[in-house]
Amino acid sequence: MANDPIHQFQIAKLIPIEIGGMDFSFTNSSLFMVATVAATGAFLYLTTSSRGLIPSRLQSLSEMSYEFVANMLRDAAGSHGMKFFPMVFSLFMFVLVANLLGLFPYFFTVTSHIIVTFALALLVIGTVVVYGFMKHGFGFLKLFVPQGVPGILVPLVVLIEVISFLSRPISLSVRLFANMLAGHITLKVFAGFVTSLSGLGAVGVAGAILPLAMTVAITALEFLVAFLQAYVFAVLTCMYLNDALHPGH
């Protein structure tokens, strides 16, 4: 039981709330969303409170994350894209901190649930669609008709473009979700080997060294993945927003 790798993804109700037959309980997932938001917000707020001309280490960490996302967005979507900066920055920081918090033992990983990542992906795609139609009207549909395609191929290309556009929220959410899920399961399985092997006496303890080393290595890898997936999520968000800004590219 202790080694069940799926248990870490269980939702546990902490404060049951039910409205109109729907379950809106405050769960461990909700708790970690609050923790993610509170920790990130507090960090960004407190480290920049001195407004130092010469930044302290923590202040420069906040500034680095700001400039990192700002450069990412400016590179992908140009300076017009900066109006989406708060959204991209919030998404990046939320996903990053949720991923990193999830790496602590016994902590719940918010982004290991498909519904959370899917909701975030829908927020991105929803923004792209709403802003695209607001800004360009039906000109936004030019997104599906790339320039310079021979007339015969246009229907086929449009079909492919539509399918690729519709699969974006799915690929965006599944990528993050699956990475988090698989990483945590792997980590739990290897860590489980350590405990079960070391219960078998001296030989077992010796045999447990290898999975222990693996656990350490995978933990390091998971830190990389946690950052990388947040980065990928943010970069793709920037690229999709670029479509909304410049659909006729």
Binding site: D4, F9, F24, Y45, P55, F89, Y106, F107
Partner: protein, 213 residues
């Protein structure tokens, strides 16, 4: 608090069952925590297929709660960042880049001043050098002119003296020549007289003249 569910794996089933029974939910919507466990032990996929223990991330019963709390937390997070944090960090960065630009500008201005000072100094140096050359040249020219004048004067006096000397020599020579004629006449007359015993003075003079040619 959140550690408890992780530790409480053994007690979870009882709780979960209690929930399920108490809540009287439709089939398949909620078989949370508890019932998942017996099925899950090593047979996750099978369990999920049978619907007995839904794989937690795919359990729709938790979706409304997660969406609601995500919307609340992320919405607040977004507003907080947009209204407070990002303007502040942006302000800090802007102030810094302004300050850097200002400092660079000041440095450029100071460099310009230093360059101007160097240029002025070099110009003055060049002027001074030019003046020094001019003075030197004038002095040299003056000295040379003086020397030339002196030399010409000396040469002129020498020339004069030379001419005077030559004239003197010529007059002496002429006088001597004349005297040579008189001496020759006297001598010839004397010779003639001693030979012949008397001589015609005029004839002697004519003969001498003819001999001198």
């Amino acid at each position: 608090m959140f550690v408890t569910p992780g530790y409480a794996q053994e007690t979870a089933p009882a709780e979960g069952e209690a929930h399920t029974q108490g809540g009287t939910r439709p089939e398949g919507e909620a078989h949370p925590v508890g019932e998942a466990h017996p099925a899950l032990e090593g047979h996750t996929e099978q369990g999920a297929e049978h619907g007995g223990g839904v794989f937690p991330p795919f359990d729709p019963s938790s979706f409304p709660s997660q969406i609601l709390w995500l919307a609340i937390t992320f919405g607040l997070f977004y507003l907080f960042l947009k209204k407070v944090v990002l303007p502040r960090i942006g302000g800090i960065l802007e102030v810094r880049s302004d300050r850097i630009a200002q400092d660079l500008e000041q440095a450029a201005r100071m460099k310009g001043e230093a360059d101007a000072a160097v240029a002025a100094y070099e110009q003055e140096l060049a002027e001074a050098k030019g003046n020094a050359n001019a003075i030197g040249q004038k002095a040299r020219d003056g000295a040379r002119a003086d020397a030339d004048a002196e030399r010409k004067r000396v040469e002129a006096t020498l020339e004069e003296k030379l001419a005077a000397a030559e004239a003197n020599i010529a007059s002496i020579k002429a006088k001597a020549m004349n005297e040579v004629g008189t001496i020759a006449e006297d001598t010839a007359a004397e010779i003639v007289r001693s030979l012949v015993g008397g001589a015609d003075k005029a004839a002697v003079a004519a003969a001498v003249k003819a001999a001198r040619g």
